[in-house]
């Protein structure tokens, strides 16, 4: 019976040519032409490809029509590449907006430019915490500009490993590690998203649709809360504007999102695998550490001549009640300003900033965000000790 080795030698594709003079072809190309050829299944492949192409184009067009008929319009996806493109524009003396989705929705760049003399760069990101971006700006030795920081306690104190932290870290990481290929994809993606309405990965993709299937979960399962559906439009500067369909008073979409915020803003139960008192001690320790880290980062930026102002943006309805209850101002906003010695603007302290209605309880409509920004500017100028506007 032939051994494995002799079998292997017999099966060798190339002749053993160690001790003989190679042919000219072998000398040039290392060996004779390959005997191996992939089989091509006999089928009318050209026709099949043509039909598939037509079907896919037709199905895509139908899906686009369906998306537009539901009110969707072309809009950029706020992904890490778009964030990176904004971060690249930050110059040493830039005004940047950082923080969460309230800073993202509620700041109108035109009004800020008119009032502050410079067009701010939008670095706030929905569902993300402030710390990684603040830390990145503090580490950037060239930066000595102005930071307008949105403050939502649940997000601001998000612990390491939590989704808000990972989201912000992903953005910062992409800024530092973006490859040339990713940069090209960023431009191609923007070109497509500005023209195609169904490109909404969180909403109109396979995953988005599967997420929306009404399948009940096992009782006691610690599943992640659902995220709100698409309700904003984003431009190249990352300016987010609430979708009119959501901004309509009492709209079904706004009400649906309101009911999504409540579980999202409710702290999850402590993990089952750590004793509650140990977890709570660690949690409090984490908050103190965040206060300390933020203070140190701000000191660093200030030492270079930079400035920061914290802003608590409007929120209303059941969400305000919930936030006031679980993250009262005295426990986070006041200590934050005290420890960092940074100025802060709490919307409800000023009558002209209060009274705005957030359609889905958390953000201002596009129209209100312009008005709010206009009214916020004088307060920002005061807080940042800018000369009185002419």
């Amino acid at each position: 019976m032939p051994s494995f080795i002799s079998n292997f030698k017999q099966r060798m594709r190339l002749p053993r040519m160690f001790f003989r003079k190679p042919t000219r072809e072998e000398q040039i190309h290392g060996g004779p032409p390959l005997e191996f050829e992939r089989p091509i299944p006999p089928a009318p492949w050209r026709g099949i490809t043509v039909v598939i192409t037509i079907v896919v184009i037709a199905a895509t067009a139908l899906w686009e029509w369906h998306a537009r008929s539901r009110g969707y319009a072309p809009s950029l996806n706020d992904n890490d590449d778009l964030w990176t493109s904004a971060r690249r524009r930050v110059e040493p003396e830039s005004i940047v907006i950082i923080g969460d989705s309230r800073g993202w929705f509620d700041c109108d760049l035109d009004e800020f430019q008119k009032g502050l003399g410079k067009r701010p760069i939008q670095l706030a990101a929905p569902g993300s915490t402030t710390w990684p971006v603040l830390e990145d700006l503090a580490k950037d030795e060239t930066f000595h500009g102005t930071i307008i920081c949105s403050f939502v306690p649940m997000l601001f104190f998000a612990p390491p490993g939590s989704p808000p932290m990972e989201r912000a870290q992903k953005n910062v990481k992409r800024f530092h590690n973006q490859t040339p290929a990713q940069r090209v994809s960023e431009h191609l993606g923007i070109w497509l998203e500005e023209r195609v309405a169904f490109l909404k990965p969180d909403d109109l993709s396979l995953e988005g649709l599967l997420n929306n299937l009404p399948i009940p979960n096992r009782s006691g399962a610690r599943v992640p809360p659902r995220f709100p559906p698409y309700f904003e439009r984003v431009d190249r500067e990352r300016r987010a504007r609430m979708w009119e369909k959501c901004a309509e008073p009492g709209s079904e979409l706004a009400q649906r999102i309101q009911q999504i915020w409540l579980p999202l803003f409710t702290p999850p139960p402590p993990p089952s695998y750590i004793p509650t008192d140990v977890f709570m001690a660690k949690f409090k320790e984490g908050i103190q550490k965040r206060f300390g880290d933020v203070t140190a980062a701000i000191e660093k930026i200030r030492a270079r001549g930079g400035k920061i102002v914290f802003v608590r943006f409007p929120h209303t309805g059941g969400l305000k009640e919930l936030e006031d209850k679980i993250t009262p101002r005295q426990q986070n906003w006041d200590p934050l300003l005290q420890m960092t010695h940074a100025p802060g603007i709490y919307y409800s302290d000023f009558p002209e900033l209060s009274g705005f209605n957030c359609p889905e309880w958390s953000h201002l409509s596009a129209g209100d965000s312009v008005e709010f920004s206009k009214r916020l500017v004088p307060h920002l100028r005061t807080a940042l000790e800018m000369p009185v506007a002419p």
Binding site: F8, L14, G30, L34
Partner: protein
């Protein structure tokens, strides 16, 4: 550049159009060299220089081996090539790992040593292209290949963009001969290549990234104990994810190469229908397992030695195979587990192979599922980032945490069940044949319907350009 990115779509269309528009064979090859370096440099341009250096060195060393007049001289040049390639791999991939282990080791004898953390960026695909390049000098030494005179051809053999960063590991001896004669545009081959690319991208974007990666990441990233259902679901999700991710890349690479007129061999052959572990390794990452077989296992004596030595050879090969995947002890354990599986299988075969029931259909199915189960257990070490997670996962899988947490949604559990049943069913249905013969049985309308569903699913899924798992290796 990722296959599942918009950049690649544009790159591929431009390169393929230009390639078939050019009439001169040398011009086409030059184009492919430039395109392959752009493909690679699009991650990190300086690493293209590293790729070129490795390639040029092996080209020169290959010539020295070819020119050497006696065996010992050939051996010296081969050792130089192996050292050059492995030291490159060692520095970039294993530098920090070696330092950490050295620190641990000296600490055992009471020496406190704090090594500097080397801030080394791993060149993408270094494990693959090092093996592409190394196969050249090894085959010249073995006498199955003559050194090529064309540096350009060798550069193309190592860097050919479809297989450059995540395989299949294409040996120079399999690719260089294809550069001898101009490839011709064959319509059916071109469109079949496109069909394979569609299948590969469907596997990656829809099955691996959309249906399986989320639950797998959550289960392996969870800090607490999980009940058996969620633990197994996470492992099955990862088993499916890594197959569709890697097989998807390989099929896309094979398809892209075909559209340019090149033939790459299969890298997967329905591995989850394997009966036994030898069978598994004849079906999983075939280009790596045959590389290790030909350049390591057989030189060590293969199975032509005494049983104990053969068992040791298997374990050594799988140990190194594990380490090839990553600089972590979890990968080593994964490799050792597979080595042990192979040894146990040999022992079982000695005792039971001749029994009449051994080849009965029931036994084969039971053995097949036992193989799949054991492979899944090994995947725990492959996926877990440390042994704490791995041991917690294994404990959860075998009922160690009846009061553990449930973290997967019902929808995710259903998704994993459907995809796992689907992949196992497909693999068992096609285990005795090739993918091409399975396609032959289908009528044209069925191929069209399946192709259209897959292509639209890719568009519909709106992938997020997740990197392929094997890029990190």
């Amino acid at each position: 550049m990722l296959f599942n990115s918009l950049t690649f779509v544009v790159f591929y269309v431009v390169v393929t159009t230009l390639y078939w528009s050019l009439s001169g064979w040398n011009l086409r090859k030059n184009l492919l060299v430039v395109a392959s370096y752009i493909f690679y440099g699009a991650w990190n341009p300086p690493f293209a220089a590293l790729l070129f250096t490795t390639t040029a060195m092996d080209f020169w060393l290959g010539r020295q081996i070819g020119k050497a007049q006696n065996h010992s001289a050939k051996k010296r040049w081969l050792v130089a090539s192996v050292c050059m390639n492995l030291s490159m791999l060692g520095f970039f991939k294993y530098g920090n790992f070696l330092l950490q282990n050295f620190q641990w080791l000296v600490a055992r004898v009471g020496i406190i040593y704090q090594p500097p953390h080397l801030d080394i960026l791993l060149p993408v695909g270094i494990s693959f292209y090092t093996f592409h390049s190394l196969s050249y000098t090894l085959d010249i030494y073995r006498g199955v290949l003559h050194p090529t005179r064309s540096l350009r051809d060798f550069i193309l053999a190592v860097s050919f963009f479809p297989q450059l960063v995540a395989g299949p590991i294409v040996r120079a001896g399999d690719f260089l001969p294809q550069l001898a004669h101009p490839t011709r545009l064959k319509t059916n081959q071109f469109f079949w290549g496109l069909a394979l690319m569609t299948l590969g991208l469907f596997e990656k974007i829809v099955l691996a990234d959309t249906l399986l990666s989320g639950p797998a990441d959550r289960v392996f990233g969870y800090a607490g104990p999980l009940v058996a259902t969620d633990s197994w679901a996470g492992v099955l999700a990862f088993a499916g994810q890594i197959f569709f991710d890697f097989a998807g890349y390989s099929i896309t690479a094979i398809g892209a190469a075909l559209t340019l007129g090149f033939h790459l061999k299969d890298n997967f052959r329905f591995p989850y229908a394997a009966i036994g572990f030898s069978d598994f390794w004849r079906r999983w990452h075939i280009s790596l397992s045959t590389f290790l077989r030909d350049y390591l296992y057989i030189p060590l004596g293969g199975n032509q030695v005494r049983p104990f030595r053969m068992a040791l050879n298997l374990v050594i090969v799988m140990f190194l195979g594990g380490l090839w995947h990553g600089a972590a002890w979890t990968f080593v354990v994964w490799g050792l587990l597979h080595g042990s599986y192979l040894v146990i299988e040999r022992v079982i075969r000695i005792f039971f192979e001749d029994k009449p029931w051994a080849s009965s259909p029931v036994t084969r199915v039971v053995a097949g599922f036992a193989t799949y189960g054991a492979v899944c257990v090994a995947w725990v070490f492959f996926r877990a980032s440390d042994f704490t997670i791995a041991s917690r996962m294994l404990s959860g899988m075998f009922g160690g945490h009846p009061n553990g947490d449930m973290i997967l949604t019902t929808r995710e559990l259903l998704q994993i069940a459907v995809v796992t049943a689907g992949v196992i069913g497909m693999h068992w249905t096609m285990r005795e044949e090739s993918f091409e013969t399975a396609v032959i049985r289908l009528p044209a309308w069925a191929i069209t319907a399946i192709g259209a569903v897959m292509a639209f699913a890719i568009v519909f899924t709106q992938g997020t350009s997740n990197a392929f798992i094997y890029f990190q290796f």
